[in-house]
Amino acid sequence: MSQWIPVTSPAPLQDAQRRALRWIASLMVPPSEEHGVPGADDEAIFADILGSLGRDADAVRSVLRRLDELAGGLFADSADDAQRAAVERLRKDDAALTAVLVAVVVRCYYRDDRVMRSLGMQLRPPYPKGFEVEQGDWSLLEPVRARGRVYREVP
């Protein structure tokens, strides 16, 4: 019998896995002086990434194992060229595993204060203040109203 077990807290990544993920984060989202933002390997952002793996922790471990295979050894200890080649191969061959890496990195990167500020966002959750949306002008619908009924009468 296959029994379904609801999600529980994941175990943390091992040191080599953390180093590998941090290197990938830096490759994915580097810092930018022009925009005044850190890279995704920034200490605070990466700590957030590690602490927020949640339901993706096992999937991240799978990706990192795959990268070890592609690098022909421990990815985290491979030469820069070998690491880049392994990541390129992964991105080319496996969109689903790549999406896991992207998700765990950008979910934390794009809520960092410095990044949000650079995007012109307010540093707050949506509730309780909410947002303004222009009411607009419903007279735009006059041509639609003028054309008349579009539903079908039934016998």
């Binding site: 019998m1 296959s2 029994q3 379904w4 609801p6 999600v7 490759l27 994915m28 989202v29 580097p30 930018s32 022009e34 925009h35 933002v37 927020s52 949640g54 339901r55 991105r91 969109a95 999406a99 992207v102 998700a103 950008v106 979910r107 934390c108 990167y109 794009y110 809520r111 990044v115 949000m116 995007l119 966002m121 707050r124 959750p125 949506p126 509730y127 309780p128 203040k129 909410g130 947002f131 303004e132 949306v133 222009e134 009411q135 607009g136 002008d137 419903w138 735009l140 619908l141 041509p143 639609v144 109203r145 054309r147 009924r149 579009v150 539903y151 079908r152 009468e153 039934v154 016998p155």
Partner: protein
């Protein structure tokens, strides 16, 4: 054994809440068993800075991803469309977008009009009073005069048009195509204890403001005041029958995991188009060896989703972004059958606002528009707050091979067999999706989009679960009769999307609830001879 009740309702979502409230005025003893719990407004993601992340976690729309204690697994590996739902008081209305159209008059007469599927045993005119009552109970925002419908009341003012609605509305006018303010389950002013919408956005992760009409906020408080009992964290395993073939109650697991039996005079299933056939198929007895109420063999058959396409464009100017309810306007231009299009029936466009910062990155990187490394930030800023588009909700016609069955191995935390989904996209649906993408691209081009991204069918969009215990007059071709009662078991009723005969091309919640109110009224009118 628990005290017997007159009416046992299983499921506290859209339909269970409506039927409970309607039956409450009979003063019968009514109990609802719900496998999930109440959700506190303080628990919703928009309370925190991690609001986008939690849409992929404990408030994911996928039960398999979410994996909360209230959830059960669903094997949907044999379907291009994956089931999404929520288990708790309010059910799917907790995480729905709140888009609230009714089905159209033609939707109930597809055999007569288009020669496909079957006509319903009820029609728009019969349901119209229940649509109207439900609109008032749920507090629906709308703009009166939509030429895509017979006249109907607008209970609350429409959602803001916003920059997105204005941009896309102008494009629709250039093309000469129908569009209108979307009917929406958002309180656009304070209404019946619900606070006015403040445009938190991402309504599909729950509304911290309480502006969205989830049934924990609409029907349930009224029903509970009228002495309906709602027992949470109680998962039903099976409906039992006595020696006369009459439903006698249900076996369930309580919050502590203790197996209990709840006797009842009437049993009403309200567990959605997957949960209801799951319970029926698991309710096996000597009299019903193939599952309860399944003499027709149609329990779990004719599963209908709405296949979705997505057409999104990027613009030079900032639009509404992640602010405001996601869907503000819609189009019914391609709703009714036009054989020159190469398919029968049609679809609705929901025009959608933009995405939050995280989703912008995820979708932009997946489509290759935002690179890794150098160029990431510049490309991201070309997309953030500058996207808008639409999804098309395509009518799905019933096909018996699309089904919910019991998984032979996979079980939930209580050992109850999990549902298994088998689904194939029909040729008609495929052509409809292609048409919707082509026309959607025309709309975005007319609106001035500089770049357009499309996808169909959307994989994680199995919101609408219909058809798996269809209604009809012929017991050989349907599971319940025209007022929701099982043909086989005369005190067993079904009120959720399972009883749909066809799917229409609109979100089904308004029609599900109107049907639930209609079935409740039918029960009340027949109380003296309900089991004849």
């Amino acid at each position: 054994m628990s005290e017997p009740v007159d009416v046992l309702i299983i499921g506290a979502g859209a339909s269970g809440a409506a039927v409970a409230w309607s039956l409450a005025d009979t003063r019968m003893r009514i109990l609802c068993l719900e496998q999930g719990d109440w959700v506190k407004s303080t628990e919703y993601p928009s309370n925190g800075r991690d609001w986008e992340e939690r849409q992929f976690g404990d408030f994911s729309t996928s039960p398999n991803r979410r994996g909360n204690a209230a959830d059960y697994p669903i094997d949907d590996s044999d379907s291009p469309i994956k089931v999404v739902n929520f288990n708790g008081v309010g059910g799917g209305t907790i995480l729905y977008a709140g888009h609230f159209p009714r089905m159209h008059p033609s939707d109930f007469r597809v055999r007569t009009l288009d020669g496909v599927a079957d006509d319903w045993p009820v029609d728009y005119a019969m349901l119209e009073p229940y649509f109207a009552l439900n609109d008032r109970m749920m507090g629906i925002a709308a703009l009166a005069g939509d030429p895509a419908y017979p006249p109907k009341e607008a209970v609350l003012p429409p959602l803001p048009l916003g920059r997105t609605g204005t941009t896309l509305g102008r494009a629709m006018n250039r093309l000469g195509w129908h569009w209108w303010a979307a009917d929406s389950a958002m309180a656009t002013r304070d209404y019946e204890g619900r606070a006015k919408c403040i445009n938190l956005g991402h309504c599909i992760a729950g509304c911290a403001q309480g502006a969205k009409a989830s049934t924990d906020l609409t029907y349930w408080p009224h029903a509970i005041r009228q002495r309906v009992e709602l027992r949470t964290r109680c998962r039903v395993r099976e409906v039992t029958v006595n020696e006369h073939g009459i439903a006698s109650g249900a076996v369930y697991y309580d919050a502590e995991g203790v197996e209990r039996f709840q006797p009842a005079e009437v049993v009403i299933l309200a567990c959605n188009g997957v949960g209801t056939p799951r319970i029926l198929l698991n309710s096996v007895s000597g009299r019903f060896p193939n599952g309860l109420a399944n003499t027709s063999g149609l329990v779990g058959r004719n599963l209908m989703f709405h296949p979705y396409s997505s057409i999104r464009g990027y613009f030079d100017e900032p639009l509404d972004g992640y602010r405001g309810p996601h869907i503000g306007t819609w189009s019914q231009q391609f709703y009714e059958t036009d054989h020159s299009r190469g398919f029968v029936r049609g679809y609705t466009y929901q025009f959608v606002r933009g995405q939050g910062p995280v989703l912008t990155a995820m979708t932009g990187m997946a489509s290759g528009r935002i690179p890794w490394g150098e160029g990431h930030h510049a490309a991201y800023r070309q997309l953030f707050d500058r996207s808008a588009g639409m999804v098309a909700i395509c009518e799905d016609l019933p096909e018996q091979h699309n089904s919910v069955t019991l998984h032979p191995q996979l079980k939930d935390a209580h050992g109850i067999p999990a549902p298994k989904i088998t689904y194939r996209l029909s040729e008609n649906s495929q052509r409809m999706l292609e048409h919707s993408i082509a026309r959607g691209a025309e709309i975005l081009q007319a609106a001035g989009a500089r770049d357009i991204v499309t996808e169909a069918p959307l994989p994680n969009a199995g919101w609408h679960l219909m058809g798996t215990a269809r209604m009809g007059t012929d017991p050989g071709r349907s599971v319940v009769n025209p007022w929701g009662r099982s043909h086989d078991v005369k005190n067993l009723f079904i009120v959720d999307g399972s009883i749909f005969v066809t799917s229409g091309g609109v979100n089904p919640t308004a029609t599900i609830q109107a049907l639930a109110l209609y079935v409740a009224d039918s029960i009340k009118q027949r109380l003296a001879n309900l089991f004849d």
